[in-house]
Structure formats: structure tokens, C-alpha cells
């Protein structure tokens, strides 16, 4: 039987969804970030921002337990990451599926349910109806029911992201990790995916942690941001973190945050290369 019901997955009240304490990570002997202390509450929608190469994806790898810390501690729902794996849904960074991939979107979602299990799925086995019901349900949640029977390779970028979100959600995780899901989407789709993430967060109580390139399309939906730069990170509400003082301290260089009349944020500084991602559109 495939475990679909959340049941035992309830964590103790008052436990943080994610807690890093003075954490550090290195790759190939090179320190990526260190001294990171972050606490994310259950049901929060948090974006991870920062320049390229600062270790945003590495943070997700650490939460998944795929990369051990070199110092400090990390807990996911009060457990070591590997033991919390069943509570976490993950959407890896990718640009798009090859257009020649002839696999039904619905079957791709199903791989999120039992793709890591050995043995063959037995046709007409007990529990098959339950699985089909769960697939219908999760495809409905992400709004992908109408194209779930088409091959993934034929879907648009936004449709593929919805399918991948469904796959990450199909086991009813309590946390959803998304690595640059808005990359290579147009602005309308970026906002749509962000409000979908917010919707999942509010209605299903799932903690969402999204690595993003540009904060502006997701700004209206966000609870807090983790801003990574200069080998460390700070967390807080967007309006408190994305400020001239906070970011200058983090980058250890003078950077300036500009706010346009419609509320969009731009970070500018001497090392514009590193931070110009906010200005692209």
C-alpha cells in the first residue's frame, strides 16, 4: 500500500518547520555559506533570494538531507533532514522537459507517489482507486486536470511547472521546496505560479520555501524572505530585509534598494553584476 494519508506525519505543536542554527556548508572543500541561523514557521511562504552562486540551491540540498552540514545544526519539523524526507516535497531546478518526452503528465505526477518504490505497479490491485483519486485531487489543486492526459513534452512551461508542483505535493508533504520554479516563465505565469504556491500554503497549511531569481512577481504573496549574500543569510519580512542598510551589511559593500511607484524593488550597487538580477524583467 502506498502511504497517502498524512496520519503519523503530524509534528509536535510549537516545532519550527525549519530551523538552522549557526549552520555552515561546503562543497569540494570550499565554504559556501556559514553562520546561518534561520527559523521558518509551519505554513509560511518564504522566498530564498540572493545573487547567483551564493548557495540558494545548496540550502535546499541541506534541507533535503542530501548535503551534510560542516558546522551547526539543521532540523526539519524537529527531525534530522533525512528522517523528515517523507514530509518534504521537492521541485528541482530545470528549464523544461524535452519536447520528445512522450510520457503522460499524470504518469509523471504518479512517479512522485510511488516512483521510488521497487517492484511493478500491479494493475487493478487494491488501493489503485485510492491512488487514482489522489491523483485527480492533486491535479485539481494545481489546476492541471484539463491537460493531465497529454504528454509532458507537449505542455507549455507554465503547465509543466504545475505538473511538477502536483508531483511534489502528491504525497501530502508538509513542506514544499521549489528551486527557481519561475525561471523561463513569462511574467503572467510567474505571478500565477506564485499565487498557486500561496494558495497551497494558505489552504493546505504547507510551508513553502521557494528559491527565486526576482522577488517582484512573488512580493505580494510572500510572508518572509531569506536573503543570502556574502556567504551568509538573513531572514525577515521583505520590507525589513530588502533595505539599503540590511543588504549593504550583508554584501559588505554599499548597495542601494530602490522602490518604484508601483511597489517593485530593485537592488543596485557597485558590483552590479552580482545583484542586477532584480533589475531584469
Amino acid at each position: 500500500m502506498v502511504q497517502i494519508a498524512p496520519g503519523h506525519q503530524q509534528a509536535a505543536v510549537g516545532t519550527a518547520a525549519l530551523r538552522l542554527e549557526d549552520a555552515a556548508v561546503s562543497r569540494g572543500g570550499r565554504a559556501i555559506w556559514s553562520g546561518v541561523s534561520v527559523r521558518v514557521e509551519p505554513g509560511e511562504y518564504v522566498a530564498v533570494l540572493g545573487p547567483n552562486g551564493v548557495g540558494k540551491s545548496t540550502l535546499l540540498q541541506a534541507i533535503l538531507g542530501l548535503l551534510p552540514l560542516t558546522a551547526g545544526s539543521i532540523e526539519v519539523f524537529g527531525r534530522p533532514p533525512r528522517r523528515a524526507a517523507s514530509l518534504v516535497g521537492y521541485l528541482p531546478q530545470r528549464h523544461s522537459f524535452d519536447s520528445s518526452l512522450r510520457l503522460r503528465a499524470r504518469d509523471l505526477v504518479r512517479l512522485g507517489l510511488d516512483g521510488n518504490r521497487w517492484g511493478l505497479p500491479v494493475p487493478f490491485a487494491p488501493g489503485g482507486r485510492e491512488i487514482a483519486k489522489r491523483l485527480d485531487e492533486v491535479l485539481e489543486v494545481v489546476g492541471a486536470s484539463t491537460y493531465a492526459r497529454r504528454p509532458v513534452g507537449e505542455l507549455s512551461g507554465g503547465e509543466q511547472q504545475r505538473i511538477l508542483i502536483a508531483r511534489a505535493l502528491v504525497r501530502r508533504p508538509r513542506m514544499l521546496l521549489m528551486d527557481e520554479p519561475l525561471e523561463s516563465l513569462d511574467l503572467g505565469n510567474q505571478q500565477a505560479i506564485s499565487s498557486l504556491a500561496a494558495h497551497i500554503c494558505r489552504t493546505e497549511g504547507v510551508t513553502v520555501i521557494m528559491v527565486a531569481h526576482d522577488v517582484n512577481p512573488i512580493l505580494p504573496d510572500l510572508d518572509r524572505v531569506i536573503y543570502m549574500a556574502g556567504g551568509s543569510a538573513v531572514i525577515g519580512r521583505p520590507e525589513d530585509v530588502i533595505t539599503t542598510e540590511k543588504l549593504s551589511a550583508l554584501y559588505n559593500a554599499h548597495v542601494e534598494v530602490l522602490r518604484t511607484s508601483d511597489g517593485r524593488l530593485f537592488v543596485v550597487g557597485q558590483q552590479l553584476e552580482a545583484v542586477s538580477y532584480h533589475a531584469h524583467d
Binding site: 528541482p92 530545470r94 512522450r102 504518469d107 512517479l111 521510488n116 517492484g119 511493478l120
Partner: protein, 275 residues
Amino acid sequence: MIDALGELFSYQFMQNAFLAGTVAAVVAGIVGYFVVVRGEAFAGHTLSVVGFPGAAGAILLGLPQLLGLAVMCTASGIGIGVLGRGAVRDRHAESAAIGTIQAFMLALGFFFVSLYKGLLEGVYSILFGTFLGITRQQVLLLLVIAVVVCAVLAVVGRPLLFLSVDESAAAAAGVPVRALSIAFLVLLGLAIASTALITGALLVFALLVMPAAAANQLLVRPGQAMIASVAIALIIIWTGLTISYFTDLPIGFLVTGVGFVIYLLARLMRRFAAA
């Protein structure tokens, strides 16, 4: 017609050819589905080229050809898997390693041929296939290989499909990505060895890739596509063997030709269905 078919099966060498072809088609049809989904046709081509020195070396040593094929193809599968990838799949490293092995193996095949002068006539059948001279013993060995390949795939098929379409997500879900990728290349080596016995080393795609590619055009559910792939592989080998027996046209050409026509038809049908 019935008489003609009766004649076909009255010879033991034709019975053996049909038995061997049927077993090879089942294995190649299933393994081929994963080759197509994983986009590993290039690795498949390399392992089949490697079959050439394997078969030539076995004949040189007086061993069964299938044994030489199986040993060389699986050993090279492991070689490609281990040399070609670090912790994360790296297509560039993989293709460089594959190309290196491919060139060396082709040269090794020529070396064996030059050592064994009498083999010269056999080169054609090693490279382009024959249905003559398949023994009951080889059919039994094929059957053992087929049972092993199908049993392993029945266990690892689902995680293998997961990592084939999305490696990062599969790794995060606890699928042993590296071990499974190498294991698949071993299965691929065994499938190619089985197929090469009839189609020849250079034409294994007739059963390994063409049926799966055609099935993939028409069906988008993994189970259905695999069954269709096996069915198409069986049609190809049965048609090929029958025509080859009555016309004396080379089996390698016939199976590849039938496979090619089916693939073209499948593409046309898909385009027609989409329009």
C-alpha cells in the same frame, strides 16, 4: 501458404532462429523503451559496436559467440557507467567516455579478425546478422539472459523510469541514482548481446530502438508503450525471418527495413492524429 509455413518450421535451424529471435525481441522491446526514454541511443550504439570484438574474440578462442557478446557488452556497460559519470549525470563526460571506448573496441575487433584469418567471411554475419547456425544451446543461454533481464527490470523498472525523466527529484526521493544507472547499462549490454546474435552488431537498433521509438510515437503510458514495443519487435523479427527464408535476402537488412517502415508509419499516424 500453410505448406510453405510448415516447410519453414520443419528445419531445426529455422526453429532455433525463430526461438532466438522471439526471445531477443521481447528483451530488446522492453529494454529499448528505457533506451528511448533515457535518450541513451548513443550508449546503445557503442555497446553494439563493442559486440564486434566480443563475438570475433569468442570465435577466435573457440567459445560460443553469444558468450563473447554478453561478456564484452556488459563489461563495457559497466565501463561507460563508471567512467562516464560522477555523482551527478554529466552528459558531456559520458559522451566523451563512450566515444573513447567505441573507437578502441572497433580497432580491437579488427585486430581479432586479422589474427584469425579464416574468420574473414564471418565478419559480415557478426556485423550485419545471420539466422544460420544458431544452436539449441544458444537458445537456452538466450532464454536465461532474458529471464534475468526481465526479472531485474520488474524490480527496478519504476525507480529507473523516475530517474530517467527527472534525476534530481528521484535522488531526493531516495532512488540510488548512480547504482541504477550503471545497472541499466549492464541490462542494456545483455539485451544488445542477445539481439546482435541475429541482427548483427551494427543493426541491433532494428529491435532495440526502432520498436520502442515507434511505440513511443503512438502511446504515452509507460506500460502500454512497453507492450507495444515488444509487439512491434516481434512483428519485425518474425516478418524478417520469414521473408529472409523464402527470398535469401539478408536478415539484417530485412529486420532493419521492416523496423524503419513501421517507425515511419508510426510518425505519420501521430502526425495524422494530431492534425
